[in-house]
Every structure is written in structure tokens, then in C-alpha cells.
């Protein structure tokens, strides 16, 4: 997935001289996860560079660059470190077009690795996507595989609205279905691991039904798509797995069609439960599909605690937990 992201950045930079890429350690070194490797060398120091360790300054400057007419792509080293930039994101980037009645806008893309399962402890594992979906004016995206990552990132960069682009770091190097004791599969063996070299876009706001099924619908995104597939198999449930890809605006049509078909719905995410994005999904499904529901919608999520270090696998909503919930969902 790292190469797919790198390729998306490369293509956007080569097609548009106004695309700038920056962040902590992204320049000469190429990023702590190597997503920007080679870009400084290829496009020069003024197009891909390091920033001071100041997430707020980085996004403040990005807004200004966007206002000038550039298309900045900023990297926040870990999603856990997006909070120092929260005011610039929420009060400025998200609001600018509206408050100036369209006079100004800043087409900034904020890339940031999120999620746990890499033994990173509470400050390298968070999934704060839900918060950004509450902020009107931001689009929120999270891919689950290299093919989507590239197409969605290109679409995000080319989009004239600001986009927060979450990259589940656990699947940077291969799909992960929650079986942490099994060896990691590289992306090469996965159908979505194949990434065309050329420019392509995956429209923001379109979900992907990664598995059709009749028994129930699982709504998920990012790493959890792989967990969903594994958990459904383990529970022997014919689940329809919907990979949302874009969280805001969400693809309600696809969700609605699926839930109306299956009559049962489960929502799976890694973020903490209370007021997480799952709550919005549950609400939307309830509002749109109430009369089709044969059982209560369920949420399987991270617990409402900080992401633990030693108890990572007790926290992570893996296939066993999902399978159990699916069984209950089908019994309800």
C-alpha cells in the first residue's frame, strides 16, 4: 500500500506543478513509513520537504498555500498527532469556503497513518476519523487496500474540498484480518494489491461491496474490511461486506440497498465505541431502513479505553469478537 500511495503522490506531482508534499521527515528521508520516498529527489527540495514538528503550523501554512492556489498534501506522522492541528483543520480549513461565501478555499489533503495493531501504544494507534465526520466541510476517506488507496488519494488531491485521508498503518505492508499470530501476507498475493501504474481515480463517496451476501450486512472500512471477511467466514455467516472507503460523504445508497436486502446490519470499526463513526452509521441505517430491520443493529468496535500497549489484542476488534457478534445478530 505504501508503493500505491507513493505512486499516487508521484503521479499528482508529475501532472500538476502546484501539488506540494510536506510533513515531518517526509523530505530527504522519505517519511517514517517511506510513503514519500524518492519524491524530493525527483521533484526537488521545494516540492517535497520536511516541516518543523508543528502540526498546527503545517496545516496553517497548508491553508495559506491552498488559498494562493496550490494543492498541498500534508502528512501528519501519526493520526494521534493531528490534535495540535485541530483548530486549523476544524475552524479554518473546513470553514473557509463557507465563511467567505466561496471567495477563498484551500484544496488541502491531509494524509495520516491511523489505527493500531502495530504495538504502538496509545499515541501511535488511534483512529480519530469519527471526529472529522462531525466537522462539516471536511471529507473523510480511509482505504482498505492498495488499489483503492491510490485511486482515492488521487481523487482526494484533485478534489477542491479539503480531505482528511486516513491510512490504516497495519495494512501498509499486507492485508491483516486480525490473526496476529499468523504470518503476514504481502499485498502481492491479494487481488487488490495489484496497482496500475497510470493515473486513475476512485470517486469519493462511493462504497464498495467487497463480498455479496444474503444473511446480513457488515459496514466497515480500512483494516476492518479484512477482519470482516475473516470473521464472517469463521461465523459461517453469508455476510455482505461493504467497504465504505469514504466516510463523508457516505454512500447511503449502497448501504441502504444492502441492509434492505439482508435485514440485518453490523458495524465494525477499530475506534472507540462511544460517539465513534459507528454511531452515525447505526443512526443512518436505523433512519433509512428501520422497517426492514429484523434484529438490532450491532456495533463491534474498540473499547472505550486508550489503546493499550500490552493488551493490544484484547482491545483490537478481531475476527473472534466479530464472529460472536454475527452469531448473535443472526439469532436475534
Amino acid at each position: 500500500m505504501i508503493q500505491a500511495i507513493n505512486s499516487a503522490l508521484d503521479i499528482c506531482m508529475s501532472r500538476d506543478p502546484d501539488v506540494l508534499v510536506f510533513g515531518e521527515d517526509v523530505g530527504y528521508f522519505g517519511g517514517v513509513f517511506r510513503c514519500t520516498a524518492g519524491l524530493q529527489k525527483k521533484y526537488g527540495k521545494t516540492r517535497c520537504f520536511d516541516t518543523p514538528i508543528s502540526e498546527g503550523g503545517m496545516l496553517g501554512a497548508a491553508v495559506g498555500m491552498g488559498v494562493y492556489g496550490l494543492r498541498p498534501v500534508a502528512e501528519i506522522q501519526f493520526a494521534d498527532y493531528i490534535y495540535p492541528a485541530f483548530d486549523q483543520l476544524v475552524s479554518e480549513l473546513a470553514r473557509l469556503r463557507h465563511r467567505s461565501a466561496g471567495e477563498f478555499h484551500a484544496p488541502v489533503t491531509v494524509r495520516t497513518p491511523c489505527g493500531g495493531g502495530i504495538f504502538g501504544g496509545q499515541t501511535h494507534s488511534q483512529s480519530p476519523e469519527g471526529v472529522f465526520t462531525h466537522v462539516c466541510g471536511l471529507k473523510t476517506v480511509m482505504p482498505s487496500n492498495p488499489f483503492d488507496a491510490k485511486g482515492l488519494l488521487i481523487a482526494a488531491i484533485e478534489d477542491d474540498d479539503p480531505v482528511v485521508f486516513f491510512e490504516p498503518k497495519r495494512i501498509y505492508n499486507g492485508p491483516f484480518d486480525g490473526h496476529h499470530d499468523k504470518p503476514l501476507q504481502p499485498w502481492g498475493k491479494h487481488p487488490m494489491g495489484e496497482v496500475p501504474e497510470e493515473h486513475y481515480r476512485i470517486e469519493l463517496g462511493r462504497a464498495n461491496v467487497v463480498r455479496e451476501g444474503a444473511d446480513c450486512t457488515i459496514l466497515c472500512y480500512g483494516t476492518m474490511v479484512h477482519v470482516a471477511l475473516a470473521g464472517a467466514e469463521e461465523a459461517h455467516v453469508d455476510a455482505e461486506v461493504v467497504d465504505l472507503r469514504t466516510l463523508l460523504p457516505v454512500d447511503m445508497e449502497t448501504i441502504e440497498a444492502s441492509v434492505k436486502k439482508t435485514g440485518r446490519c453490523l458495524i465494525l470499526h477499530e475506534a472507540t465505541k462511544t460517539s465513534g463513526y459507528g454511531a452515525e452509521l447505526l443512526s443512518l441505517v436505523q433512519e433509512h431502513c428501520f422497517w426492514h430491520l429484523e434484529a438490532p443493529i450491532q456495533r463491534v468496535t474498540g473499547w472505550d479505553t486508550p489503546y493499550p500497549h500490552a493488551f493490544e489484542w484484547h482491545y483490537f476488534p478481531g475476527p473472534a469478537r466479530l464472529a460472536k457478534a454475527l452469531t448473535r445478530l443472526m439469532e436475534d
Binding site: 496553517g60 501554512a61 491553508v63 492556489g69 479554518e92 466561496g102 477563498f104
Partner: protein, 412 residues
Amino acid sequence: MDDAPQERLRLHIPEPKVRPGATPDFSDIEVPEAGILDRPPIDADDQTLHDFAFAMIRVLDEEHRAVGDWNPHLDADTLRRGLRYMLHTRLFDEAMLRCQRQGKTSFYMKCTGEEAVAVAQAMAHRPDDMFFPSYRQQGLLVARDWPLVDLMCQIFNNPKDRTRGRQLPVLYSARDANFFSISGNLGTQYPQAVGWAMASAYKHDSRIAAAWVGDGTTAEADFHHALTFATVYQAPVILNVVNNQWAISSYQGIAGGEQSTFASRAVGYGLPGLRVDGNDFLAVYGATQWACERARSNAGPTLIETFTYRAAAHSTSDDPSGYRPANEEQAWPLGDPIERLKQHLITLGEWDEERHEALTEELRAAVKADLKTAESYGTLGTLPDEPRSMFDDVFKELPWHLREQRDEMEKL
């Protein structure tokens, strides 16, 4: 270990010297003689420049003459234009305050006593330089000949309001004047200006950026972010601190102004900080001109502190008599900027009381005429647009959930 005596610690809380009821006291403000400072070359080294952060650049002397190295040597027409813009700004403010009292708008913020800052700075810049202002730089727009009717319409939130009723009065946006949309959140425009300037430098443009914050706002994170990014990337930007002594009810000591000058914040970033008599039109012009030259020649950013006094209330929601002596502005040792420039022009033989009177009348009439036009489109309570318009511009295109909400609203 240290040898400090076993003394008990105590917490220091800064407090202004005088409070309501007491006599204004500005005896601790040092007002250096005008003209005594050299104007260094724009690429002078850091250490040479340190002193300017602690001194005060002044051009107009006690006899209203322009003296010293920092005198920008403006011709009489330019000076008269400056006077006109400042006066226009003041009369506009007065008219808008009256409108607020009359219920034509909900809110207003004056810049009385600080007119030289925005007006001289706007004039020292090129018209295509980009401004990232706070809410107290209406003078920038006046000096860029922006139609005041436009501002009034926003203040009244009427159908000609450029922000379509979305912003509070005074939070203008004027792209055609290269004037950035003002945020209600203090200080956010500071790193944005730096980013804009970085972009301009990246594109090998020649336009530079300038941003303004108040003394109180220097405490925000964005102040530090802006200075850090400005110095690291040597962005062509001018970062201005308008030190008008007050942040609502908090005096500048609460922002750390008693321990050092705001201009001196620049020192630690290796940037020049210029402390300027903010009520001296020529000093503000001269210092800004220097900083513009510097930025435009790839010599780097500058921090300018304009030392002035907020003669008016913070806003129409504020009453300063609750926290500072009455009429403190009259004791302000740096005087009034309009009066000082007027006297300078008179000293030069380029102005007189009659012409001043006539100018005042002319501008008063202009404001009145503009007001009449603006009011004809409506004042507080007139809706600026269809309510459905509030859903526009959240995104470039309306997503399904906003369309649904808009429909729901319209069905009510």
C-alpha cells in the same frame, strides 16, 4: 544543588498600574526622541537588528517635522491621501457605531486611535500584496479604495452582503482587494499568511504577504507557528503585532508585554523585530517599507510591533470603564495619529484648518451617502439571501445529506 535561601515561593499575577477611578499613568512608557535610529540595510545581520526590537522607530518629532533615517520622504499628495484614508476610517467607524446603537446592526468594532497602522501599512505595500488581517484593520480596505458600501452591506447582513449573511459584522472578505477572509478565531491567519508567502516564493511570484494580530493574540500557538515557519523557509511575509495595550479587559502585561516587547519575540527566531510608534504615520510607513523591500528581495520576513492604544471599547459589546480609567486614551503619550499627520502637513505648509474642515465634511457626506445606499438594501433583520443558501459552500458541490437537509428545511 543550588544555594538558594529557604525562601517561600510566591505566585506573581501581573496587574496594570491603574484601574477605574484612578488617574491614567503612562509614566513607565519610554518615548524616545524621533529620528535617532539609523535605518539599517535590509540584509543587515541579526545582531545589528536586535536593538530595533527594544527601541521605538519614530519619525515625527515634537515640532511635527519628519526627521531621521526612517523618514520615507513621501510627497505631499501621498501624505494627504494618508490623512484622508485615516479620517475616512474614523468617520466610517463613528457612523457604524451609531448604526449599532440604532439597531441597524448587532455588532461593531472600531479602530479609533489605531488608524495609522492599517492605512500607512496598506500604502507601503503594493496593491497586489496579500493581506491576512484581524478584525481591527478596516483601514487596509479604506486605503485600498474598497467601496465602503460593500462593508456596510456586510455589517447589515443585507442582500448585498458578500458573505451572504454567514459572518458576523466586520469579519470581511474581499478577494478583489487581496484581503483575506477574517476569522473569528484569533491568530489563525498568521501561519496562513506564511503559507501563502511560501507559495508565492515557490512560484517565483513577486507578491508578498502581510498579517496582523493584536498584542493579546501573540499568546496563541499560531503566533509561534508563523514565526517558526517564516524563519525556517525565509518566507516573504511581514508579521505585524498591533500592540494597542488591551485585549478586551486584559492589559498587555497578561500577554507578557511587561517582560519584553512584542517586537523582541522575533529575536529568538533570528528575525528582525521592529518596534514602531504606531501613531506616527511616517514611522509606520517607513518601517513597513523597509520590511517590504526585505521580503521582496528574498532577504526574509520581519516582525513589526506597532505601539499604539485602543482608544475605543473592544467592541460594541464591551464597556472599558469597567476595567480601566476613563479617558485613558487622552493621556496616551503617543497622541492621535490623525492629529499628528495633520499637524505635520500644516507644518510643511501643505495643509490648513480650513482644508481639514472641508475634507472632514466631504468624507462625512461620503459616508452618509454610502450609508444611504447600503441601508436601501436593508439593515439588521433583512435576510441577505434565501435561507437555502446557507447550505452552499460547505462543500464545492452539495452532497446528498446536505441536499436532504435543505429540502427538509424548505418543507417547514
